[in-house]
Structures are given as C-alpha cells and as structure tokens.
Symmetry: C2
Subunit: 286 residues, 2 copies
Amino acid sequence: MDEDILYHLDLGTKTHNLPAMFGDVKFVCVGGSPNRMKAFAQFMHKELRLEGDGEDIEDICAGTDRYCMFKTGPVLSVSHGMGIPSISIMLHELIKLLHHAHCCDVTIIRIGTSGGIGIAPGSVVITDTAVDSFFKPRFEQVILDNVVTRSTELDKELANDLFNCSREIPNVPTLIGHTMCTYDFYEGQGRLDGALCSFSREKKLDYLKRAYRAGVRNIEMESTVFAAMCGLCGLRAAVVCVTLLDRLESDQINLSHDVLVEYQQRPQLLISNFIKKQLGLCDQMS
Amino acid sequence: MDEDILYHLDLGTKTHNLPAMFGDVKFVCVGGSPNRMKAFAQFMHKELRLEGDGEDIEDICAGTDRYCMFKTGPVLSVSHGMGIPSISIMLHELIKLLHHAHCCDVTIIRIGTSGGIGIAPGSVVITDTAVDSFFKPRFEQVILDNVVTRSTELDKELANDLFNCSREIPNVPTLIGHTMCTYDFYEGQGRLDGALCSFSREKKLDYLKRAYRAGVRNIEMESTVFAAMCGLCGLRAAVVCVTLLDRLESDQINLSHDVLVEYQQRPQLLISNFIKKQLGLCDQMS
C-alpha cells in the first residue's frame, strides 16, 4: 500500500512519522477505559522518573473519540473499549502501527477489570489460558463466511515472570488461572439482573461452578481475541485483571468509589514493577 | 431487587430519581461515537427550540467513561461504543432505565456509520432487516453455554415512515436495504488491509457481491443484537446508517474531515425531521 490510514487511531503513514513517534516502544499496555489508561500513563511517568509533569500528558489519538493513546518513554498505554470487536479493531491498527514504526521485542499486556469466580474481590488474576463460554481455549474468527478457530495460548514464561513479580507486592492476592471471555456481560456471563434473563439462579450457579472446575478464575470480554491476535503476530502477550466481585456471591458491582479505584490500581502497580525490572530500573529506585 | 445499579451508566434506582429524570423520554437515539451523540443532542436542542444554550449540555453519565448520555426534551442521545458486546451492555442498562423510569411508547433509533456495498459513499441506508456474516436474519446469543437464535426483524412501518421522511431532504440518496452486522471490522468484513489477512482480493469481492445479491447494502457492527434486544423488549426500533465508502471500490476510509462530518450529519438530519414530525412540530417550524 502506498499509504496506510489507521482510521480508528487517527494516525497514518503519510500524515505521521510513525518510526520517530513510536520506534522506541517496548511495552504496550491496553485496557478498556480511557480514563484508566490515562491514569496508568501518568503513573508510569512518575515511576519511570521522566522529566516534566505527567499530568498534562497528551492523547496521541485526540483526533478521534474511538480510542485514547498515551506514551511515556518506552511504554504505550492504549484504551480499547469493551468487548471482542472493539479491542480487535484497536489491535489490528496497533499491530500495523508497531510494524510501520519498526518496533521490535514488544511485550503487550492487557490490564483490566473482571468478575471473579470463587476468589475474593480485589484479587488479581494472571491469565495462563483464555477460554471461551464453553471453557475451550479457542477463538472463533469469522473470515468472510468461514469460521476459523485460533489458539488462545498466552506466553507462559511472561505469566510466570509476572506472578513472581507479584510476590513482592504486599496485600494483593494474586494467582494464575484461566480467564473466560464472553460476548456479553449479562446473559452471556449468567447474570440474573439484565434486561433479559431466561434462566434460574440454580442454572447460573451450576454454570459458574462448572467454569470454576474447568480452571476458570475470572470472566471478562476481550482476552480470547487478544491472545489469538497477539499470538499470530508474534507479540509476547499477557492478561492481568483485577476482580471486582465474586460471581458466586452476586451479580452487581457495588463497591464504593474509593475501593473501586484502589482495586483498579492493582494490575497497574504489578505491571509498573514488572516494566521497571525489565528496564533494569528497580535497584536504583527502591 | 431492592436496588438496581446500572453500573456502566453510573446510574441507580437508589441514587437517582429515574422517573423524574427520564419519565418523559419518547425517543432514544444511539450511536457509536460519544462526540457524535453529543453533537446530535446539541442539534436536537436547536431543532426543538428548547430554552438555553445547547452547547453546554451535560453528560448524564459523566461519572463513567464507558458511555455518554444527553437529554434534550423527550429525546435521549446515548453512545454505545463499537461492536455487539459494547452496545449490548448499554442496551441492557438503558432498557432497565426506561423500565424504572416508567417510560412508555418509546422509539429507539441507531444512527451510525457503515461501509456500503454497491452504493455511492454518503448514501443513507434504512435497515429493513439486520443479517449476520452468513446473510441470515438472526442473532446468536450465548446464554450460559447454550446458543439461542433470536430474530433480527425491525419495525417495517417505522422504516417506511423514515423513508418517506427522507424524500423531503434534498441531495441525500436514501434507500431501504439489509444491513450486515459483523464481529470484526477487518477480516470479518473482507478487508485486505488489516494486521491479519488470509484471503485474496478475488475472494473478498466474491463475498461482498454475494452479500449484495442477498440484499445487503451496508455493513456495520451492532445492528443484529440491537434488533434482537429491542424486538424482545417491545421497543419500536430502526437502524439508519450513512455509508462512508463503497467496499467494492476500497477498504480504507480516506474522506476529508469536512466531508466526513457532513456525511455523519445525514442520519441526524433525517431523524431530527422524523422526531419533529412525530411531535407535531414541523408545520410551525418550516
């Protein structure tokens, strides 16, 4: 192609010097909420002791309201909205961006929120394998009118490195487990409180308990396509989500604002520590 | 339930007086982009000749960055992000909101952007039936680990009323046709320019031409679940999308900013005229 327009990022190969803007990126952190990804970028700015005030950090995708993107040193922080289709659009354009910018050895980590199964709210789950609603480690991609099944394996070594890193953070229960990825927050996750619900509390609990027995420890809405696309494109990838409730106990998230904010910072703290270690910045900083 | 927290809207039955806030809503317009739905609310404010300056209209969901919501008289304007999962979360919570607020006789219209097939860019497509990637008028909802097939019929009378309304707007080609809804913008819509692509230009064109012969005139990413959920919940529903390109000609959207803005206003203008007619405001205003 003569020109590549990354439409949903409002970037392009003719309008932007992508190698100059992004050539030094080594870590990409993605998450659903634009505000949370901005807060993460500001946090990384402080943690990496970069010059200037991180508070006025610029949204690189300010020309569009589809996604937000912030850069702090070698760390890119990008929002992806909610659900498989939304993150897949962002990943297609992000992966092309990294290619056009000649980035190499990039690690990509999704830091998100999720519902837990059988674990305390506030726990952090590092995903070993993303599974679908049928507890299978696969992502079904419709290509034209064919269904192609893709692997959802994530980088085991990276997951272990992250878990080891978590042991140094006090008071944050962290574990490795399967993460279930659904297309829907209500009926698809067995919630009884949606606008539509056709099953009983017993059926719900039976489903969630079967998920638990299959190794699932949390449920979110992006991990299978994230694992599949990053795997096919050769990116070292991890998924680290905090749980906001235990779905065996309730369906509604009713944490206070302060507790919610503190929980959402837990994956950020873990990833920040991991990145500082990888950059060899830990000793001189602690 | 004692309390219903509409988590992704940052509203709730105990924290907000939903009947007072929303009881008079008769029209709900939804679209992917927060900025576009704010612009639509400001436009409706002017068109309905409401008091005050529409420029500083308040985001009712300002406490969350998942969705935006604006109210101008009996018209609610809500963003839904991109893709089936994202719009389905919003619809669950919106439909519960309308129920808690005791709203009745509500019409809901998605105003969006799309890729056209075999029609000029800038055309407005009023959907008669939403179809999936296999050109079938169905939405497959995963409930626990069962797949349930739902109808994607839309209100034929409403579609015809909208089409009649469009005849009064000069220079905007408008038609009624099938709308294909996919889970993916790149591989799922036969684009050759994604980070991953495993098919030829010939296969792409064969697929899009088969879609055309099946009656599909545009492609987007939300209409099937929108039609299915609104249908099941008894809401009169329509989908009105402008096309930004002809997919038989290209994959990339490279309209100038001004043309893009003008195209995106076309469904808004049509819906504004329709709402004014329904409210009996047309004669005294024209």
